[in-house]
């Protein structure tokens, strides 16, 4: 029996085989979507760049050389140099680490937070729902960047505070989605059946409600990655995110703004990086939505 047959066996012999089979079906479905594949490649490229930055970058991201300042793109400096003579390509490569860290930390903080708040609100309903959704509404009604600005202003500029600020502004949207999703099945018979066999509320929320919310959450987070990168870049641009000399893409654009008419490459190259990575996450998110849609399983 080939590994493929083993994975697609419709009578799996163990739980592991059943789960692997499901994962295999999803992966193949994802790989059939060309845009999703493009997204995966871009995200993998970002991961690889971040991981191997010291080997990829030809120069140090912070080493200055005033004799080579503001050189246009050439064979020696693929993306040119900035006002302190630093190789922009090297800075963009190292900047991928910062971007990846921002995206990962924001996702790790805000997605579970929103998921749990939304699921609890949707599952219990009543006053729990009103209180939790009231708080969510307050956060939602404030513009994201302004709220992040306020947090950074209060906590002080810096990359960690920018991450916390973005995470705090990102969770309400997830809470809303998780709540809406939970409402659609909180009275369903499979949830009632667990209550009937004596399952506690915590068990129902964590074992039964959350797994059904996660797929739409993964999709939403992936699609939001672009927004998170842009918010981080925006904070960097305003000088409230990563501080010099950290090669954060938004901060790099901000520095390049001064020379944008004569030395266009200084601001444009990190801009391209932001666009490419945002696009990659969007493609991946779209592909995941087609695969992870909760109804997809029952249609096949």
């Amino acid at each position: 029996m080939s590994p493929r047959d083993w994975l697609l066996d419709d009578s799996p012999a163990t739980l592991t085989q059943a789960n692997l089979g499901r994962a295999w079906r999803m992966t193949t479905a994802l790989l059939r979507n060309p845009l999703a594949v493009a997204g995966i490649l871009i995200v993998l490229l970002l991961l690889a760049t971040a991981l191997f930055a010291p080997w990829i970058a030809p120069e140090s991201p912070v080493g200055q050389n005033l004799r080579t300042r503001l050189l246009p793109p050439s064979a020696e400096h693929w993306m040119g140099t900035d006002e302190l003579g630093r190789d922009i390509f090297s800075r963009v490569v190292y900047g991928s680490r910062i971007t990846l860290m921002i995206v990962a930390l924001v996702a790790v903080i805000s997605a579970p937070l929103g998921l749990i708040i939304g699921a609890v609100a949707g599952y219990f309903g009543g006053w729990v729902d009103r209180v939790l959704m009231g708080v969510t509404d307050i956060f939602l009604s404030l513009p994201k960047l302004i709220l992040a600005l306020a947090f950074v202003a209060a906590l002080g500029p810096g990359i960690e505070n920018a991450i916390i600020a973005i995470a705090i502004t990102a969770w309400p949207a997830y809470a809303r989605i998780a709540r809406a999703e939970t409402l659609t099945f909180r009275n369903s018979e499979y949830i009632q059946a667990v209550r009937l066999v004596g399952g506690s509320h915590a068990r129902i929320i964590f074992r039964h409600v959350l797994p059904l919310c996660t797929s739409s959450m993964i999709v939403r987070v992936t699609l939001d990655m672009a927004g998170i990168i842009l918010t981080a870049a925006g904070l960097g641009f305003l000088g409230l995110g990563a501080q010099p000399p950290l090669p954060e893409w938004g901060a790099m654009i901000s520095r390049g703004r001064t020379f944008i008419l004569d030395q266009w490459w200084v601001a444009t190259m990190p801009g391209f990086a932001i666009i490419l990575v945002s696009l990659g996450f969007c493609f991946l998110g779209d592909g995941l939505r087609d695969v992870l849609d909760p109804k997809q399983g029952s249609e096949k």
């Binding site: 499979y190 667990v194 066999v197 004596g198 074992r207 059904l212 399983g297």
Partner: protein, 262 residues
């Protein structure tokens, strides 16, 4: 006098401000199979939900196996009384394998030897072992309903509440499930309280029935009333006539296609 398996006394049930069931009283003896019949909206499923604890807004007295039940959920109750839902497509979690679904009641109640128990139960409800690690979407409606019955039986309850367990299934599959339920009741000495609007099902499965109309029980009649039309209440007679009368005269209607493996 022995303790009745299920006893309802002057039970009123409401959803919010609307009172849907009024003044319902009946007893189901241990080992008996009792049916609640009536048209849609007559409140019969609501009675079942109140007994199960899923419709908490009720007044009166409900007791199962001599213990009166509170308004919330409690574990001791769940070991005695379980429910099978109407729609097998909605009663299984879409992301959980059959094995996980059947293991859960055991895990909640801290019962050991789970793997053996799951295998035994699959055999008891006539499901092959190869279904064990499938997801619900890989099963047919009848197979799903077998899983739902298996889940309800995992805690070895003595009272089963059946909410139209066959109405969402094809006729041939209905017969299989009814035969399965009948066999399980015989083998495990279960007490059934079954909601249905299908009188042939009543004559096949049940000993007595309560006819409900607009939230009230209009009559409690023995199964023999289905053969001779001996209903006292005008509404019951109307219901009897509407279903074609004397459904029990053709018991074969339910009996064929008995592919039940055991």
């Amino acid at each position: 006098m022995t303790i009745p398996a299920i006893s309802l006394k002057d039970v009123d049930i409401s959803y919010g401000d609307t009172r849907v069931v009024r003044d319902v009283s009946f007893d189901v003896a241990l080992g008996e199979s009792f049916a609640l019949v009536g048209e849609s909206g007559s409140g019969k499923s609501t009675v079942l939900k109140a007994i199960a604890g899923l419709a908490p807004e009720w007044t009166g007295e409900i007791s199962v196996l001599g213990k009166s039940r509170g308004h919330g959920m409690d574990r001791a109750f769940s070991e005695n009384c379980q429910m099978v839902f109407q729609d097998p497509y909605a009663s299984l979690h879409p992301r959980k394998t059959i094995d996980t679904v059947l293991n859960e009641p055991l895990a909640i109640h801290g019962i050991g030897r789970r793997s053996e128990k799951v295998i035994e139960m699959l055999a008891a409800v006539g499901l092959d072992r190869r279904f064990r690690f499938r997801f619900p979407h890989q099963l047919s409606g009848g197979q799903r309903q077998r899983v739902a019955i298996a889940r309800a039986l995992m805690l070895e309850p003595r009272v089963m509440l059946l909410d139209e367990p066959t109405s969402a299934l094809d006729v041939s599959v209905q017969a299989e499930i009814l035969n399965l339920l009948k066999r399980l009741r015989r083998e495990q000495g279960l007490t059934y309280l079954m909601v249905t609007h299908n009188l042939p099902v009543v004559s096949f499965m049940c000993d007595r029935m309560a006819v409900m109309n607009k939230g009230r029980i209009v009559e409690i009649a023995p199964k023999t009333a289905l053969y001779d039309g001996g209903f006292a209440d005008p509404y019951s007679r109307e219901l009897y006539a509407a279903s074609g009368g004397n459904p029990g005269a053709e018991p074969d209607m339910v009996a064929p296609a008995t592919k039940d493996p055991a």
